[in-house]
């Protein structure tokens, strides 16, 4: 059987593509000083997300079929739990994509020696015709600005939960 060379889009590359094409999102990458299995076991346990993301009050898995999950997320706003929001999730090893109508979160990871390269993306998933995107530009700008500050805190939280920082 003849095998033509091909390229498989790896999870981190996939996340980088999404970060470049969605104008309202921000992505950060960091090498976490822990093995991939440990990092992925923690971040893919979605109900534990409030342990590292202070914007979250709770996450509950409603259903799971293969790599598709439905979860309900309650945000935390000034200490108050907001009403649950349904979120569709695609989850497999090294890749997690969570989407609600107004928000998107992506995580991707790959081993880097004994450590783990971790990518985290969040924001408002704006897209549409160029004229619509022009109108959305201020929202995209605010979203990127906010998540540029927020995402490093999330990754700090992951490292804290893994016992890598105080």
């Amino acid at each position: 059987m003849t095998e033509w060379p091909t390229v498989e889009l790896r999870p981190l590359d996939r996340l980088r593509v999404m970060a470049r094409v969605l104008p309202g999102v921000w992505m950060e990458e960091r090498v976490i000083d822990a093995p991939f299995d440990d990092v992925w076991a923690f971040v893919s346990d979605l109900e534990r997300a409030p342990e590292f993301d202070t914007d979250l009050h709770s996450v509950k898995v409603v259903s799971q079929e293969a790599d598709r999950l439905k979860i309900k997320v309650r945000a935390d706003v000034f200490g108050l739990a907001m009403p649950p929001t349904p979120v569709a999730v695609e989850l497999r090893e090294g890749w997690c994509w969570m989407r609600s109508p107004l928000y998107v979160v992506g995580m991707a990871a790959a081993p880097e020696g004994d450590r783990t390269r971790f990518g985290h993306l969040e924001g408002v998933p704006l897209h549409g015709s160029p004229s619509v995107q022009a109108l959305q530009r201020p929202i995209a700008w605010v979203s990127r600005l906010r998540h540029r500050r927020h995402i490093p805190h999330d990754i700090d939280g992951i490292e804290r939960s893994l016992g890598l920082r105080a």
């Binding site: 033509w4 091909t6 390229v7 889009l9 593509v17 094409v21 695609e90 897209h127």
Partner: protein
């Protein structure tokens, strides 16, 4: 958009992998970004695939470091040569690596995508005669290296 990426990425990966070889990862990423940035103007699946093909070939050639055109050689136009047998158990990558990227591009479009010369000319932005010439050269080179 995530679903669309799942659908189109393997196709782009096949073109970029076979044309750009070691630079295929970069080419595929750049191609996907370019494809998705222009999504609002694409209304149907056929148009999307054609657009994806055009962008993927362009980015793959760019990543492979070759955008030069191969001039038409009238002496080769007579040769409506037979299709090389690509079904053997051989290392296609090694053979492809010995070819010019523009030759890899026509082979990929012909043998992986099944395009005719007119369609290939449209994708590559060259005259049909140029495609014919490139295809002839590519097949000749492919066959020579294959049997070497």
């Amino acid at each position: 958009m995530n679903e669309l990426l799942t659908e189109i990425a393997p196709y782009v990966g096949r073109i970029c992998g076979a044309v750009a070889l070691d630079s295929g990862d970069d080419a595929a990423q750049e191609a996907l970004v370019a494809i998705f940035r222009n999504l609002p103007s694409l209304r149907d699946a056929v148009a999307l695939r054609a657009w994806a093909r055009r962008i993927a070939v362009r980015e793959a050639l760019r990543a492979a470091g070759s955008r030069r055109s191969v001039p038409v050689d009238p002496t080769t136009l007579e040769a409506a040569i037979s299709e090389p047998d690509l079904s053997g158990d051989v290392d296609v990558r090694t053979v492809l690596a010995s070819l010019d990227p523009v030759h890899r591009a026509v082979l990929v479009l012909r043998h992986l995508d099944g395009l005719d010369e007119r369609e290939m000319a449209s994708v590559l932005d060259v005259a049909p005669g140029t495609v014919k010439s490139r295809l002839h050269r590519a097949r000749t080179a492919f066959r020579a290296r294959w049997s070497a």
